[in-house]
Amino acid sequence: MSETLLVLPALLLAGFGLAILLRRPAGAVGGPGFVERNGAVIAAYLVVAVGFWVLLMIVLPQLYMVDFSFRNNLPLPKQGGPEDVHTLKNYRYLLFGPEGSDQAFNWLHLKVFAKTIVASVLVTFFDFCLCYPIAYYIAQVARGGSSRLLFVCLLIPFWVNEILRAFAFRIIFGTSGVLNTVLIGMGILPPDAPIDFLRADVALYAGLSYAYVLMMVFPLYNAIESLDHNQIEAARDLGSPWWRIHWRVVMPHAKPGIASGCVMVFMLAAGALATPQILGGPSSLWFTQVIYDQFFQGANWPRGSAYAFVLLVSSIIFVMSAMRLFKVNLGDIAR
């Protein structure tokens, strides 16, 4: 605990450092400063509110979790005692499993981890394929009223609670669910052999993709909407088929939006818990479920923290390298 408290002054120092870095150079030409522009009360409110939000709600808990991940799982009386030292054993556990195990690596957890990342990439890709045409249509093709109607149609399902939506997908994809009933009714499937969409993870992918449709549609829409329609017509007039217009004109323009949508969907999918819990097949496990189990089944908070931290860091590294590969800057995404 005491070390965590030491973090606070360090953060304050970092904050001051940042303030000095961002300060207007003396004598620079420019408008009035932050305080002059907003007035003392509003400026103070903004600084305190944003500072409170960032420090107390995000930075400190995360740092606390990081600190936790390097500790032994001790019962309360032993905490602060001689055994309460920093250790790497939680991370070692994720890689190599329990000591004395007959396997070289902790395959069970590592596989779940890899599967979570790969599946999140798939969900992101699927969402992109689904949302790009929709966003393009709303942004460039639909006019006034119909684009608003489409937005409403996209929004309304998200008034329903996430868990209820996931259960609705169970009803659709279950062995005796809507989809199987329809397929059997149409004679496509034999009545005695429905497809187990849940076991095949179809329901999981569909549910996750559906859950983050809006996260993909809105950044794509914003990016595509700002494209001058004349550019599309110019490309067409120069003889371009539709796919080349998208490849050479629309997508390069929308790249920041594509990146921002993909990052959001990937991060959310990799960190999803409820949907995989409800829609995952009996044998499939999402890494967040493993983390959850460490916290609440195994009562091993340090190990859960280590797992969560690994997921966070590897997601960030993955996203950063993907952005470098596609030559997108972090600044572009924030636009």
């Binding site: 004349n230 120069l238 390069p252 323009h253």
Partner: protein, 361 residues
């Protein structure tokens, strides 16, 4: 390769609004043809119909004798230059120019060679690797022309491409466009609301108003022999005198106006009693009484010097002043605001046309 363009009784409607009403004309091969009219007159609609972004509601468009119904803009032998140019900002100048060739599957080397050729045609050699944003307005203009020419269109369509440029550059680009057109020899169809542009560049002009083509003719024809009151008031400055035809004979007519009887040519053969407007150009008016009865008297409102010309404004029957434009040879200096004086004109330099809507000022 160049091609003619025929509009065969083309009508274009949007819901209950008729944007173009029965346009019927033929643009010859290699011609520089302009559609001239105020904004909202339907000229851009015509251009978009020729390029294939719109289909005519009635009638048909033929390019080089071939009916274009159902042929998309990417399949037509036309290239369009947009009002805002619509260059691709994320591509280099050379990639912009070669985009149409890339679409046609040309190799990288071919594209580069062709882009370089066109860059020298538009006098921008060695600009190929720059980004579009690094170019000036006039340079962007020329790149847009090169990009359109790269696909070797038979007809080049230009939608007010000079409107974003400043005056001096605009005048320079007029000459340049005309030179490029002569060099490549293809049909240019040009859209503008600026009559100066239309008259200086075009072989022929179609003047449009409210979706209707009012007159098709060469610059001098349209300027000297306007067919309707709209054309007379839209193309160039003109003074209008409203009245009723009192007499008509030998191709001339006498109009009874609030300034007294005035005579002019009567190309439409108006009969006595008909409502009409007499148009006389500011440069057709002279200060002082003429040697016949074709004169009127009015009060001087202002006396404006514009370099080589002096514009004397006289009080008219409507709030719009009558303008007399004189060569600045010293004779107009005596005209002081507030004084009354006589003005006169040669009846052969005045045109009497049926009463009709005038161009908005």
């Amino acid at each position: 390769m160049s091609a003619n363009v025929e509009l065969d009784h083309v009508t274009i409607r949007f819901a209950d609004f008729t944007a173009v009403d029965d346009a019927h004309l033929r643009i010859e091969e290699g011609e520089f043809f302009s559609f001239l009219g105020p904004s909202g007159c339907g000229k851009t609609t015509i251009l978009r119909t020729i390029s294939g972004f719109l289909e005519p509601t009635e009638g048909s468009v033929r390019i080089g004798g071939r009916d274009m119904a159902g042929v998309g803009p990417n399949k037509r032998p036309t290239a369009l230059i947009f009002q805002n140019l619509a260059l691709f900002p994320l591509m280099s100048v050379a990639d912009n120019i070669a985009f149409g060739l890339e679409v046609r599957g040309a190799s990288r080397a071919d594209r580069r060679r062709r882009a370089d050729e066109l860059l020298s045609l538009i006098a921008l050699p060695n600009h190929g690797d720059k980004m579009v944003s690094a170019l000036s307005g006039g340079q962007k203009q020329r790149v847009a022309i090169a990009r359109a020419l790269a696909v070797e269109p038979e007809v080049l369509l230009l939608d007010e491409p000079l409107s974003a440029l400043d005056l001096r550059l605009r005048q320079h680009m007029r000459t340049e466009l005309r030179t490029i057109q002569r060099r490549v020899g293809i049909t240019f169809i040009y859209i503008t609301h600026d009559q100066g542009e239309a008259l200086t560049m075009s072989d022929r002009v179609a003047v449009m108003s409210n979706g209707v083509i009012q007159q098709v003719g060469s610059g001098p024809e349209v300027y000297n022999n306007p067919a309707t009151a709209f054309v007379a008031s839209f193309v160039g400055e003109n003074n209008a005198f409203f009245g009723k035809v009192a007499r008509a004979e030998n191709g001339h007519a006498m109009l009874e106006t609030s300034f007294g009887p005035l005579r002019g040519r009567n190309p439409k053969g108006l009969k006595p009693g008909e409502e009409a407007i007499l148009f006389v150009r500011p440069e057709g008016l002279l200060l002082g009484a003429g040697n016949d009865a074709n004169q009127f008297e009015s009060e001087i409102l202002a006396n404006e010097l514009e370099g080589s010309m002096v514009h004397v404004r006289l009080a008219g029957a409507t709030p719009k002043a009558i303008t007399v434009s004189l060569t600045n040879d010293g004779s107009a200096v005596a005209a002081r605001p507030g004084a009354r004086l006589k003005a006169s004109f040669d009846p052969d330099r005045a045109t009497i046309l049926p009463k009709g809507p005038l161009a908005d000022e």
